[in-house]
């Protein structure tokens, strides 16, 4: 930065860069369904819907340094709300009812669960998270009359918005808008004093408490924010998959969001976005050739990423490569101008 | 005889000890200096806890730099850490035994710590976490000397000890010296060092700036110490040497 100002080269400021990137990417995401097959569109839609829950993991990880395996609960809650109300016991398929309802339920459940799960940090939190997902799984699995047991609920009608029945394309744009809105909301939250306080908590619990931060309340709030994200995405995921089963609650499903966040890189705000796209893309690519191997491949990739670059993830690697070429270009320019 | 030759230790970019050379033979040498001057780091380097960048550490002419941490006790280096660091859930006996077994396995002669530190007898079978600070220090010393090392390293020996216990510990140090052991200590207070040290080495930013008897150093350095800017007192280095 300093070098640039000294050489007098006009660089667009950092924020503008991001704004431009956001607009460009959103525009691409908006027009792409017009050019690609239906299948690819569904895939992109799925990527978009993976972003909010991955953001939940990201918030808990980057601010609190905890591993959040329990995102699948909220995905599952949202999905089953959609499946019950718009599928099995058809009441309404109006998104303006489903989404807020799922949001409220997720927040409520996250509030209650937070009391139990957030009590301790470290492996206690991770294990309790896994335990909760398993508890929900067995609940859904065994309440066969209501939930359809292991068969799940398939036959979910497409939702409507403002009373207008949405097509598949319409659902795509709703997903885009919802996920973009949540991303912007997360950005707002991460630039607020809330995130600073959370960072203080991750440093030292006792110290944070002694300077007057309500430690438990703040941590539970982070958990609620993460859960709300997943709950909203869950409704749209149910419509997207057109099927909801107990595997939605399985612990490995929650672990996949952790993997996605790690692949993307939890040191960067764009990490979860990159992670969601890379994860879903990889899952698709590997399972087209080797249907049984995608979990193995992704597991190995995550393990390698953790060992080699830690929290940097793919974003960090790309940024590093990109930064190096940029620096080299800069350097060449400088030598050129210096060697007059 | 312990001889340190051109020792340099760093944590990342921070150099904690810069090219220090010193010898200890049959005496009690105490490293003094402000917090973060590199005293503790130097001791940790000799004990094998901190990795060194360059230099040699000679024990009776044999370089011990490449000897891993768990073999240093066998090689003849005993270390008493700053905050005692006992094995809390174990009895005093077991604390001492751990070191004794290691020494015996290596064919080293172990020593009768109960004879050397008769005070231990009164709490020999109690859990070490239940002991007072002075008693814990005593156990920590016993653990370091049970393998009859040639060199004993004491980090902040008298830190946080009441006067009576401090005298007792000083007495222990003098008896160890009488047994012919080389003793290297680190002490942040010059007054405390003068209670037991034959020679004081003043470290400043990882380098030796003065050397002499406690009285000499006191007269030499007092003016300097008074003028020392407090703001520079804190450095990260001292904290950062826990091996992962």
């Amino acid at each position: 930065m300093g070098a640039n100002t000294r050489t007098g080269r006009m660089m667009p400021s950092y924020i503008d860069d991001r704004l431009i990137a956001t607009i460009v990417l959103t525009a691409i995401a908006a027009v792409i369904p017009l050019f690609v097959s239906e299948y690819v569109r569904t895939l992109i839609q799925r990527c978009l819907l993976w972003i909010p829950p991955t953001f939940g993991v990201y918030i808990i990880y980057s601010l609190l340094r905890q591993v959040h395996f329990a995102q699948s609960i909220f995905i599952g809650l949202g999905s089953y709300i959609a499946a019950f109300l718009a599928g099995k016991y058809f009441v309404t398929s109006e998104l303006l009812i489903l989404l807020p309802l799922s949001l409220i339920v997720s927040i409520g459940v996250a509030y209650v669960l937070g009391i139990f799960i957030m009590r301790r940090t470290g492996f206690y939190f991770a294990i309790m998270g896994i335990a909760v997902t398993m508890a929900f799984w067995s609940l859904v699995y065994k309440m066969r009359q209501i939930t359809g047991g292991s068969d799940g609920i398939s036959d979910i009608k497409n939702p409507s918005l403002f009373g207008i029945q949405l097509g598949d394309q319409g659902l795509y744009y709703v997903s885009l808008v919802v996920s973009l809105g949540l991303i912007l909301l997360m950005r707002r939250i991460l630039h607020s004093p809330f995130s600073l306080q959370l960072r203080a908590i991750s440093g030292d619990l006792q110290k944070a408490e002694s300077i007057g931060i309500p430690v438990n309340g703040m941590r539970r709030l982070a958990f609620i924010v993460a859960g709300a994200n997943a709950g909203v995405a869950g409704v749209l995921l149910a419509f997207s998959y057109n099927y909801v089963g107990p595997t939605t609650f399985a612990w490995e499903f929650g672990a996949h969001f952790v993997q996605a966040a790690i692949i993307g890189g939890v040191n960067y705000f764009v990490g979860p976005i990159v992670g969601a796209f890379v994860f879903v893309g990889l899952e698709f690519l590997v399972s087209t050739w080797f249907p049984n191997l995608w979990e193995v491949v992704i597991g190995v990739i995550v393990a390698v990423i953790v060992v080699t670059v830690g929290e940097e993830g793919v974003t960090g690697i790309v940024k590093d490569l990109f930064g190096r070429t940029l620096k080299r270009a800069n350097l060449e320019e400088r030598t050129y101008s210096d060697g007059k | 005889m312990l001889a340190i030759d051109g020792l340099t230790v760093s944590y990342g970019t921070e150099i904690a000890v810069k090219n220090v050379s010193l010898t200890v033979s049959g005496e009690v040498v105490c490293l003094c200096g402000r917090n973060g001057a590199g005293k503790s780091t130097l001791l940790k380097a000799v004990a094998g806890i901190a990795d060194i960048d360059s230099g040699r550490i000679l024990l009776d002419g044999k370089n011990v730099v490449d000897i891993p941490l768990h073999k240093r006790l066998e090689a003849g280096i005993g270390y008493v850490p700053e905050d005692r660091k006992l094995f809390n859930e174990m009895t005093v006996r077991e604390n001492v035994e751990v070191a004794r077994i290691g020494a015996r396995a290596a064919g080293r002669k172990d020593m009768d710590v109960n004879e050397f530190l008769p005070e231990l007898a009164s709490f020999y079978d109690r859990k070490s976490k239940l002991l007072s600070g002075g008693q814990q220090k005593m156990v920590s010393i016993a653990r370091a000397i049970v393998a009859s090392p040639k060199v004993v390293l004491f980090d902040e020996l008298l830190e946080g000890l009441a006067q009576a216990m401090a005298f007792k510990i000083c007495d222990v140090v003098k008896r160890l010296k009488a047994e012919g052991k080389d003793i290297l200590c680190a002490e942040s207070s010059l007054d405390k060092a003068s209670l037991y040290a034959d020679r004081v080495i003043w470290l400043e930013q990882g380098k030796i700036v003065a050397m002499g008897t406690p009285a000499e150093i006191k007269s030499q350095m007092m003016e300097h110490i008074r003028k020392m800017p407090v703001g520079q007192d804190f450095r990260q280095g001292d904290e950062g040497c826990r091996p992962s």
Partner: protein, 296 residues
């Protein structure tokens, strides 16, 4: 009433026994090395499949119990080898607890995926040893001898480990290196930490592999059972306290029996019950019933 209670307890014995082994496999690693690792559940799964496949391949229908013991031994050695290999190739590069949790959970998914590739998703069963041992009668309740054998073996191993830790010189070194002691100072006292870590991983692997192998004749080797095992074992550690043998046994009994009761009375809450017990424990005793206060 009493006989009813006894029946529940007897029915819960297999789960209790394997949870004892598995939870201590996890908490031993955590206690001695300070390492969180979820890989043990993967080892459990592989142990179960290895036992069943080996038994079918080597013995078919002609079962000798000694042969089955030999296969169990093989399964536990396989577990030890795998966990040690996973440490040497992978886990030793993980520097923080968060990294360990993320990476080992991924490793667990890898194990799971490999099991799926090798054995498929249909459960494999081999109940010959279970049938072979016959049944006996305790206070009017018929109980398979295999249940008693499992519990006996689990308790025997725990006793052996307790003896090893508290009475032998190597055990003393282990305790000196544990969370209760001080790793660096233990090493400065001549305890080779690399060796201690390797041995801890090996013991942990033996326990996990054996847990899988022992339970396999009853439940079969089933893809997906690792989640159940992970849950019960890890919750038992939370309930019993890290590093405590008594805690592991007690917690396994609590979790196993309450879960067995719940499975009959309220099957819907079968897996919620262990979680509720763990939550209550954390509220009353944050470090577990028998646990000590660690930095975790």
């Amino acid at each position: 009433m009493f006989s009813m209670g006894l029946r529940y307890i007897l029915n819960a014995l297999p789960v209790v026994s394997y949870v004892i082994l598995l939870s201590f496999s996890y908490s031993f690693l955590l206690y001695i090395c300070g390492r969180v690792s979820l890989t043990f559940a993967g080892i459990y799964l592989v142990g179960a499949y290895a036992t069943v496949s080996l038994s079918i391949a080597l013995m078919g229908n002609s079962l000798s119990f000694a042969g089955f013991m030999g296969i169990l031994l093989l399964a536990s050695l396989l577990g030890a080898a795998m966990l040690v290999a996973s440490y040497l190739c992978f886990e030793r590069f993980l520097k923080t607890d968060v990294h360990r949790m993320v990476a080992t959970s991924s490793l667990l998914l890898v194990f799971r995926g490999l099991v799926k590739v090798v054995w498929g998703t249909t459960p494999v069963t081999y109940s010959a040893p279970f049938l072979e041992l016959g049944v006996s009668e305790i206070a009017g309740n018929i109980v398979p001898n295999y249940y008693l054998f499992m519990l006996g073996l689990a308790l025997l191993l725990m006793l052996a480990l307790a003896y090893f830790l508290n009475r032998t010189s190597w055990g003393m070194r282990f305790r000196a290196s544990s969370l209760d002691g001080d790793r660096t100072m233990a090493q400065a006292c001549g305890v080779n930490q690399n060796l201690v870590t390797l041995m801890t991983f090996a013991i942990s692997g033996v326990l996990a592999g054996l847990a899988g192998g022992l339970y396999a004749p009853i439940a079969g080797a089933a893809y997906g059972s690792e989640a159940n095992a992970l849950l019960l074992a890890a919750l038992s550690v939370i309930i019993g306290g890290v590093g405590s043998i008594g805690g592991a046994v007690l917690a396994a009994f609590i979790v196993g029996i309450v879960r067995a009761v719940a499975a009959i009375k309220m099957p819907v809450l079968e897996l919620a019950v262990p979680f509720i017990i763990a939550s209550v424990t954390l509220m009353l005793r944050p470090f577990g019933i028998w646990g000590k206060e660690f930095r975790y």
